[in-house]
Symmetry: C2
Subunit: 341 residues, 2 copies
């Protein structure tokens, strides 16, 4: 049985919707969830929601970090914040992984304060999935993993190599894709393209047999899905992810524009409703369960701030899957295997 | 009368299609074009194409750089290559700007060898336009300018500031947008987001009244078009541009998928044909005439390698417009005004 510490107070729709997600999990799976947060509020919500009390317990704390609070200040002021308490449960072996839809900065800072880095890893990386044209793995997943999408501005060659190793381990466990294609995102596919750090990482990865390194990819390969795991600095990853968000909004804006313009277009769009909703399903982040923070000796999955019950329950499932797949052990042993010198 | 030196031998469809583009220009406008290239071939093409010989002359040279040649080696081997000869005509005052659809690396190297940098500018920048949701300027242009999209990997604060000044001057002249909104592309809109170089450039631009600086933008603002001029390193610009290319291919792929799937979708797509072709018009790079290389004391417009007659003629028109608008003089005086110290 896998136990997940769940921050019941984090997220735009917390605690109501996120607790509901955990309730579904207790009925559907054999995952054990510890809801960390205001016991009174959580118990009130659970009164109206079907759940299996054997798989669901509450760990009481009334402090929590709000979505708009300054991460550092909030954590200093609130030593019993739900995210901190959840992390301590994991550190102390009471749970095997942590999930939160709360304040991203506070979550990452909490992990840095509470967990230790895996030996050999200098920077932790936040990884995100995004929809692609190409599908992959046993489950035909229509998404790629990109990391870092966190706060790193400048990355060393070693950072990029460790991102590649961590991303590859995660993708092979979550997408059941035994040999995920790993690439560096650069300004050209040739080996000589990119910053000096990227050129060095290219050379190192080429020599490492455990990674299915396919070389450099370019921007055009992002929506295509040429690589299953895309490695870059947090700065670049942030721009890529936010551009993808913007593009889907632009397509919807354009569809609405066409809708208004002409009667024939209106009918055309109506007839395409099925195709558009299929597109929506493919690009629906709620399905993917969240972004793993990789590099620490314990796993944290960051669910989207806008998560409701469905997204929350998927994030918990993903965390349990990674635990059962031995993700942290796999990353540790791969990093140890890899000779940086 | 404005005179443009045109590399008749550069491009996937050179010389046939590009010469045809120049022929249109000779009939439609009062721009004078010097076709630089193999006189015999050019004359043969012109025999079959309507043109006004008063506005069209040929400057003979039989050497040229192929699209797949190594830029540096090719230029060393061929001192009379059409691109080099065209640049020399501009340098020597026989023409006021240069246009080519040829090998990008060879074009940029030619400019670096033949022209001088505008005093105060350390790095030249290649700028590109891309389609956006928002429209701007007197002509309601549906595109933004992004620079650098060239080879710069690391940029200094001064580089970013000079990109902002050059991009703003170009946009105000070409889109007739008197106060283009200029932004730095970063991993967050806050002033504290980005590399140290970006933070310094932010401070400098905020204090400079001649630029309508709107601060940082994020990836999501790229397809929206929040800024008219987007400033970034060549590395980032390359990824952005290529992602935009990839996304439009993905949308087309999706449309084809829907087309095959169901009869209703097939009819729906048929009825939307007008809307889709309108989308194609908006996102059609052939309309925009090419990418200016900014920072030298002479102007070069790089037309897309796949340019045919229409794109070629637009590139020539854009070059003439920039010359008539006094672009180079405007950039020189803005850079002089700006106190870097």
């Amino acid at each position: 049985m896998t136990t997940i510490a769940f921050d019941a107070m984090g997220g735009d729709y917390a605690p109501d919707d996120v607790v509901r997600g955990a309730a579904w999990i207790s009925l559907d799976t054999d995952i054990n969830v510890i809801l960390v947060g205001d016991e009174k509020k959580i118990t009130d919500i659970l009164k109206d929601v079907k759940h299996n009390p054997e798989n669901l317990s509450v760990h009481n704390t009334t402090q929590f970090v709000g979505m708009d609070e300054h991460p550092k200040e909030a954590l200093e002021k609130k030593p019993q914040a739900s995210i901190l308490v959840a992390a301590q449960l994991v550190r102390d072996g009471k749970a095997e992984a942590m999930v939160s839809a709360g304040n991203t900065g506070a979550c990452i800072l909490t992990c840095a304060k509470t967990f230790s880095k895996i030996p050999g890893i200098q920077k932790a990386a936040l990884a995100s999935v995004y929809p692609t044209e190409i599908r992959r793995g046993e489950k035909n997943d229509p998404f790629s993993l990109i990391l870092d999408v966190g706060a790193t501005i400048n990355v060393t060659a070693k950072d990029l190599v460790s991102f590649a190793i961590m991303g590859s381990s995660y993708a092979s466990r979550i997408s059941k894709n035994p040999k995920p294609r790993v690439a560096i995102l650069s300004n050209g596919t040739e080996e000589i393209k990119g910053s000096p750090e990227m050129l060095e990482a290219y050379k190192l990865l080429k020599q490492y047999p455990k990674i299915n390194f396919i070389g450099n990819i370019e921007g055009i390969d992002i929506p295509k899905g040429t690589a299953d795991v895309v490695v870059c600095s947090g700065f670049t990853g942030n721009i890529v992810l936010k551009m993808l968000e913007g593009v889907s909004e632009t397509v919807v804006g354009l569809a609405k524009f066409a809708y208004k313009k002409r009667f024939a277009w209106k009918i055309g769009l109506f007839m395409l409703k099925g195709a558009i909703s299929q597109l929506k399903t493919i690009t629906d982040w709620e399905q993917y369960g969240g972004a793993p923070l990789l590099g620490f000796d314990n796993l944290f999955i960051k669910a989207h701030g806008r998560s409701k019950a469905k997204a929350t329950s998927n994030a918990i499932k993903v965390a349990a899957k990674a635990v059962r797949g031995g993700l942290i052990q796999e990353i540790s042993s791969s990093i140890k295997d890899f000779s940086f010198d």
